[in-house]
Subunit: 130 residues, 2 copies
């Protein structure tokens, strides 16, 4: 077995030996080379390693996953990155709020109309002034 | 005037002379040093310069703004970064959809009830079987 076998995606990409305590190995397995090349392109290998090392081990996989999401987004959309998702979702929420407001206004109208009917169902027939 | 005066935030941070054609200067002015230190910490200066250079000039400011947002988010939340916003917003949309579904169900109930009244307002009085 050569010293190069069993390297993680990061060490394979960086053409270096993968040490037993490689900080990147658990989060960038060799069977997913695109994941590392994406985060490397956006954040840089040393930044990724630094950011992961500063975190407790039990959250490192989630951090690596989120960095990978951000990197994929920025590669796909080099201007807005994943911020475009935030904009789109905020827009959807604004539209949903607007829709909810419209529906609530309709319900209020309905309720007012039904209350009127309950109090005096035929008032409109008698109250017409023209 | 020394050769160091009028440097952009990036060149000031990196302790280098700011060339007239500095690619970072228009997007990282000297009056906002935190903006550059944030993106530098997360993406690295060379990555930022590379990413901006690959874009047409008219979208570089927006790209720098989005990188700054991502960087601030990741500094504040080193595990999820701005992906936490995406999760929160998606959760809000799911809740808004659930609320809209509830309201629509109420409206359908209302409509069915009102139609019944319109067709035969007193049917319930006559149709009672007990």
């Amino acid at each position: 077995m050569s010293k190069w076998s069993g390297r993680c995606a990061a060490c394979k990409y960086l053409r270096r030996k993968c040490p037993q305590d490689c900080v990147l190995a658990p989060y960038f397995p060799s069977n997913d080379p695109h994941r590392f090349s994406a985060v490397h392109k956006i954040f840089g290998a040393s930044n990724i390693a630094k950011m992961l090392q500063q975190l407790p081990e039990h959250v490192r996989m989630e951090a690596a996953d989120c960095m990978a999401i951000e990197a994929y987004c920025r590669i796909e959309d080099p201007v807005y990155g994943c911020v475009s998702f935030i904009d789109q979702l905020q827009q959807q929420i604004i539209e949903a709020q607007s829709l909810t407001n419209q529906i609530n206004a309709q319900i209020a109208f309905y309720n007012a109309h039904n209350n009127q009917l309950t109090i005096d169902p035929f008032s409109s027939s008698f109250d017409q002034t023209d």
